[in-house]
Subunit: 386 residues, 2 copies
């Protein structure tokens, strides 16, 4: 059963695989939509072969597809296409993340579908979008991160760019597609008209570059990686302690005075190198050295409560183990279980969109077996429940 | 005039400042909503003081707030609160990113507003959310990135974590809030009921950790930074050529076969170390060495067209300057101008949600002057246009 939410009753025909599209439909599922995942017979979604594995089954696939239903269809078989047609006639949204042109070759392009199913919303997530010179190129997360600029501003100073540690190339596209689908559902509800949404991974990376674009426009110089510090505020960075790193973000003069006092160096604000944010930004490396000389004398667990008590924005750099132990993460129900015996040990991210009127359930639906929901889907089509 | 889009006619009363909230309302604005930004008299949004500056005015503020309207209100003044009431009575959504409790202290908490304006949707973006033990703590992007785990998986192998180069702590929260607002608008359209959306920066970071959570559950070991490669798919990384680095992302068995052929090493897929993705992920360093031994024999400009012709996902690592020169970015209208003479040189990110039925305008509205839209807003209230 889908989760109760603002999308309850919405049926998503999900032709997506791997990550950008499935992440979008996972978000829709967490908002209450019924998501019917159409998979290739035989192997299904490519990501069913991606590790890590739990009892031989993909945890990668499970984490993104929990709570969806699976139906295996060969989109080149007339019989299977006829069944897909029945689903599209009942669905509210079709989501796909094929390479542009694939849906047209299958006879399932927007123009044809829109003519036959005028209330069906069509959402496409692709590497480069459904227009432009690179449209036909394949893309994966890493290509989007690299071509879209975020790698060029992520990494250590003076060293090669690094990838954002999660697949932000896919996830950003999935999020923008989810926004588009919701907006299109509203538009259809108000006007009766369905639209096509076309989201590119590359475009989505441009959309999250934030002030790197502004800085480039102001200076004509492409921004470079800055490690773990802010481009213009100091101190606002990660600092080494005796046993790790912590964040200290003292973004105002008053906070810097408090920080100097808390670290037992009340003379810092009178040092001309550190007297103003502009001076501190100019002498950011000397400031880092001075702060770390103090922080090295204690552990992170020593310093963090002192900084918090002084009202200085600060925090630990949590790894996933620390995150799982964090009381705020638990209180917010952000690590949830899966109702699936094959994946007993697997936890997945909860829904960050907390809403009045709908339970934030602590358990997500089971992981679909390939074609495992065929009987129910056919029965629902026959009975009119779908 | 707002852009025409699926949110045309939707009025957003925007109490947000700095980044997470303003990014959310920028997305809503790009979808057609009319966004009325309420600012503190005197200085306005804090980010009006953030560089880089264009002719003395903040490019940081301009990039996120273009196309919104500004009205300065003192939320502690009864007269100004009365004017805010008139706006809330006409608005569809109120968005705020104060520290939790602030709206209640102003008499503007969800319970009171919902009782008085039962159709008003309420969306809050905050550091830690409206519940849980850290709810009252202040947060900045960097604190959310650090506590939320993404820094722990971003950076070079064996070296300290780095920050994601853009403010993904704020932006992810802005995107989830935008999804929630759209879903709430649909829900209200269908049922007449308004809901409150409560999105935390910390929660949003957990939601984009992706398979780092799965890997932790599978192994009990917290994932660490991996530089520029994917944790579980191989080959999927940056590779050195004779004159730089390129991305090669061969995410399926078929693509790996094509890659082996393109690099003149058709025997690779038969090598037991490289025969499956699982094997390649296990032998990822050997695979990197073998691939770079070939790529070192040519420049990036030699290899990229060959890889592209073979249909292998691949690409350069673009900085912002290269991005601005990229024909696909131009063709997709992803770098747009601002209709504001004070910011002639400033370009901003376009809307990555491309939609049929609505023009993707190449120019965004002007940057609001503090309180600059008061006369029009008052006139629209009086005339019933608002």
């Amino acid at each position: 059963m889908p989760i109760a939410g603002p999308l309850s009753g919405v049926v998503v025909i999900d032709l997506t695989r791997v990550l950008a599209g499935p992440y979008c439909t996972m978000v829709l599922s967490d908002l209450g939509a019924r998501v019917i995942k159409i998979e290739v017979p035989g192997g299904g979604d490519d990501s069913r072969a991606y590790g890590p594995f739990f009892d031989g089954k993909s945890g990668y696939f499970a984490a993104i597809n929990r709570g969806k239903e699976s139906l295996a269809l060969n989109l080149k078989s007339p019989d299977d296409l006829a069944l897909l047609d029945r689903l599209l006639a009942r669905g509210d949204v079709v989501v796909e993340n094929f390479r542009p042109g694939t849906m047209e070759r299958l006879g399932l392009g927007w123009d044809k579908l829109h003519a036959r199913f005028p209330r069906l919303i069509y959402a496409a997530a692709s590497g480069f979008g459904h227009s432009g010179p690179y449209s036909q190129r394949p893309a994966y997360d890493m290509v989007a991160q690299a071509m879209g600029g975020i790698m060029s501003i992520t990494g250590e100073v003076g060293r090669p760019p690094v990838r954002v540690g999660s697949s932000i190339g896919d996830l950003a596209a999935g999020l923008f597609t989810a926004i588009g689908v919701n907006a299109a559902l509203l538009h259809r509800e108000r006007t009766g008209e369905a639209i096509k949404i076309d989201v590119a991974m590359l475009d989505s990376q441009v959309a999250i570059l934030e002030n790197a674009i502004t800085r480039y426009c102001a200076t004509g110089k492409a921004p470079a990686p800055l490690g773990a510090r802010h481009p213009s505020i100091a101190p606002f960075a990660a600092f080494a302690t005796a046993d790790g790193h912590i964040i200290v973000a003292a973004g105002t003069e008053a906070l810097f005075v408090k920080l100097a006092q808390t670290l037992g160096r009340p003379e810092w604000p009178k040092d001309p190198r550190f007297a103003t944010n502009a001076a501190r930004a100019e002498h950011v490396e000397a400031l880092q050295t001075e702060i770390e000389a103090v922080l090295h004398t204690g552990t992170s667990a020593h310093w963090l409560p002192l900084l918090e008590a002084a009202g200085i924005p600060s925090g630990p750099i949590n790894d996933v183990a620390a995150l799982f132990a964090d009381p705020q993460v638990a209180a917010r129900n952000m690590v949830v279980g899966i109702d699936d015996p094959d994946f007993g040990a697997l936890k997945v991210a909860g829904n960050p969109i907390k809403m009045t009127g709908f339970d934030d359930v602590p358990q997500r639906g089971p992981v679909p077996k390939l074609d495992g929901d065929r009987a129910r889907i056919l029965a629902d089509l026959d009975s009119g429940a779908l």
